[in-house]
Symmetry: C2
Subunit: 480 residues, 2 copies
């Protein structure tokens, strides 16, 4: 009885997602030990359970980058105001939301520095010194760091005044090379999300209105959360030669003439952890895909004081040494341990009690489906080896189904308006391509264009808002 009470209390601490999705999200990030709020408004502490997920994200993504020839570097965290101002669109986009350093030690700075909100200007300054000849191209660098943007409303992982990310910055001899790299990195993000995070996304291009400050074109992957809202999950920008002209980055070509370089940048942030939570989580807490789960298997002994049980639990863990496995040998009740393992989203738990031990068996429980699987102790390593990829695949399939089930098409203004009465998911609709329609849609329906998907469909000949001839199909949605 004590078990059950303790268990209930732990689970009761999470608000149901159907009741209040926002509160459910906050409960999960805190109760699963991912973050704690700091006393500095808009800044959070990423706790061990949260940071361990980020470390695995870094490991997988960094390897994918390196496989395409990316090299890591580290650039200064401060940008002098005059440097930030060199590219007109870029400074307009970022200046209102940066933090300014005005004093260093005891000296008042003659020029303000901003804490980097992103590092295009610093990379331009660096590349200008590195690039002289066509032999110096391409430059394909990335940095893992933190950045600061002075957001008004903040939420853990989704929007905070400081966040962790990677930002890749490249320079190329031609516009074609730059475009190829821009799309290549979007594909890297998309593959990473599908294959490692079990997150399906929509790949496409941002509209002129939504593109990055200073970019010629911005590509994006958009994910759909459990509550029907969209989350921009990674972006890749082609700058053309705009920054190169602003910063004077030129190289001598094989033709012995000076040419401007063409640049790209691309980034993914800790907000992707928010996507993991909101796509896979349930009313018991986190559900982590095995590839990104800091602990993949938790062995939980039942009646652990009975002879042999604890040793059997350790033995099972030892058999699973090729996986990220832990044994919960604390003095909490099994009920509490189950609830805790579920809250933390550990993909598999293994229960082992006196009766199991006697029969030479144990019970595997999947976090995603709660399916229970009996297994001979001798077979446990082989079974876990099958189960983890199965869970990974099933989680992706489930998320894909959710995305498909919550993507709608609208061919008239009425349908479009009706579809957004509630936030059910993406709505595909034709668009004339004019900014005015996009702005009015946002104003009237509180809906933004998420992307012009690479996979176009011809739903009708006319813009869903103004009725004029359509040029593109667009994914619309309400976004985080």
């Amino acid at each position: 009885m004590a078990d059950q009470k303790e268990n209930k209390k732990l689970v009761a601490e999470i608000t149901s997602m159907d009741e209040d999705f926002t509160q459910w999200y906050t409960d999960v990030v805190v109760k699963a030990g991912l973050i704690s709020y700091s006393n500095i408004k808009g800044f959070m502490v990423i706790k061990p359970a949260g940071y361990a997920i980020w470390e695995l994200i870094q490991k997988h993504l960094d390897q994918r980058f390196k496989d395409t020839g990316v090299q890591n570097v580290y650039l200064p965290m401060f940008i002098p105001e005059s440097l930030l101002q060199k590219e007109k669109d870029h400074v307009e986009g970022f200046a209102p939301e940066v933090a300014w350093v005005t004093q260093g030690g005891l000296e008042k700075l003659s020029e303000r520095y901003c804490v980097r909100p992103t590092s295009e200007t610093l990379f331009c300054d660096y590349y200008k010194g590195e690039i002289h000849s066509y032999k110096d191209l391409p430059q394909v660098c990335n940095q893992w760091c933190s950045v600061v943007r002075w957001e008004k409303e903040t939420r853990p992982f989704l929007r905070s005044r400081e966040f962790l990310w990677q930002e890749g910055h490249t320079a190329h001899a031609t516009m074609e090379d730059a475009e190829e790299r821009t799309k290549q990195m979007l594909q890297v993000y998309s593959d990473f999300c599908e294959e490692d995070l079990a997150l399906p996304t929509i790949k496409g291009q941002k509209t002129e209105k939504e593109k990055f400050a200073g970019a010629e074109s911005t590509y994006t992957i958009e994910a759909l959360m459990h509550d029907g809202r969209a989350l921009q999950s990674g972006t890749s920008h082609n700058f053309g030669d705009g920054f190169a002209k602003a910063f004077g980055i030129q190289y001598t070509g094989q033709d012995n003439k000076l040419h401007y370089v063409y640049q790209t940048s691309w980034g993914m942030t800790t907000r992707i952890i928010g996507a993991l939570i909101m796509v896979h989580g349930d009313n018991s807490g986190l559900v982590l895909p095995p590839k990104i789960a800091p602990t993949q298997v938790m062995v939980i002994p039942i009646q652990q004081r009975k002879e042999g049980v604890l040793d059997a639990a350790y033995d099972i863990a030892a058999r699973l040494k090729d996986y990220r496995v832990k044994t919960d040998d604390s003095d909490r009740s099994p009920g509490y341990k189950f609830a805790d393992q579920e809250m933390r989203g550990i993909p598999v738990r293994i229960e082992i009690g006196p009766k199991d031990l006697e029969a030479g068996k144990c019970v595997l429980v999947r976090r995603d489906t709660r399916e229970k699987i009996e297994c001979a102790i001798d077979d446990v390593a082989a079974k876990v080896g099958e189960l983890l990829p199965q869970i990974q695949a099933d989680m992706l399939a489930k998320a894909r189904k959710h995305l498909a089930d919550h993507t709608f098409a609208a061919t008239s203004k009425e349908e479009f308006t009706e579809a957004f009465k509630e936030t059910k998911g993406f709505v595909k609709a034709m668009w004339c391509g004019c900014r005015e329609c996009e702005e009015k849609i946002k104003e009237e329906l509180n809906v933004t264009s998420r992307c012009i998907p690479f996979e176009q469909e011809n739903l009708s000949g006319n813009c869903v808002y103004c009725g004029k001839p359509a040029t593109k199909m667009v994914y619309w949605g309400r976004a985080y």
Copy 2:
């Protein structure tokens, strides 16, 4: 002839270390492609070749941390002024050298934030919320991040206004536990330096004068550079309950009473890359120990246009897939490639030309000793497998010999003064333990106490400076 000229030009770009050690150092960090100066005074760009070393340092050190139960976290980069001021000694030590943020977006901040110079105050604020019961102890966290200290004189890696580091912060139930962790982490640093970086160090305690702002005791590892100067390479601090009292961090013990926690912190920075350069480097550039070398083997084809040579080079590289290997197939001359590989400190190069190929052989050249070893192509993997650990061991032995040969003892003021007429290395001498002598020694001889080594010797009964009874033997030196 063209080869030789090109080669000479490349090597000639490095000043000889005997002529001007400072310029040699600057030449190496730039020519080996480790850093480039940024346009922001005191800030540098860590380029791919430099950052790849840091990534390997992180990998090795992080694993050693995790083996002792350390968990990684991430805390905010800003500290409100009121938080920084909570511990009196700490704020006195750091306030004069921090960068201040006074504006966030368009709003002027009501309270200044400093960019973290170190995060003791933030960890205290965090731990105060996490620690309630003895069951919440110990807390053993670490973060990898960048910090800012407004240094006046800066040099790449050794002293810069921003640097990368790790900072561990722990909280314990007792002073004994804190002391044990403090010393444990010093040992981790010492083992890491010896075993991974081939850097021997002296382990000991800092004097009261030299200890960290706010610490009860500071332990340090001190390395000796090629020019006889010391470099503080890693420090570990025991704070006792000083911070806990300043921040009110208490837990309920098993005795049901409230107790203050005892805390530690410990850090190692990118300055350790400076130590690698200045201990192992020579007049041809960097010499990297194999465990930390981003590229361990460079295969260089000779007369690569001759049939079969380039394929043989690729074949050799393929045989070495278990190592970090590259093939220099650029259109540079072999002489240039040799000089470049030496400059970058790659531990082994493999030369393969038409005659070698005919004989089924290749030539391995050690970077550290320049020894040439003929080897059948079929045996190349086995030979490299033997050679890399041998180079690692030999580099440590050589550095140990340098440390021993440049450590002197002085038992009188005259000997002590004489020993520091030039900067030859460490001088061991007895000390009375009073701060006044330490300050006068610094003033008169421009020499600081590096540490009170754990391995004490009784050189004489009297303080080398004042002649009063001695309490400790101290390592003295001129330091970076």
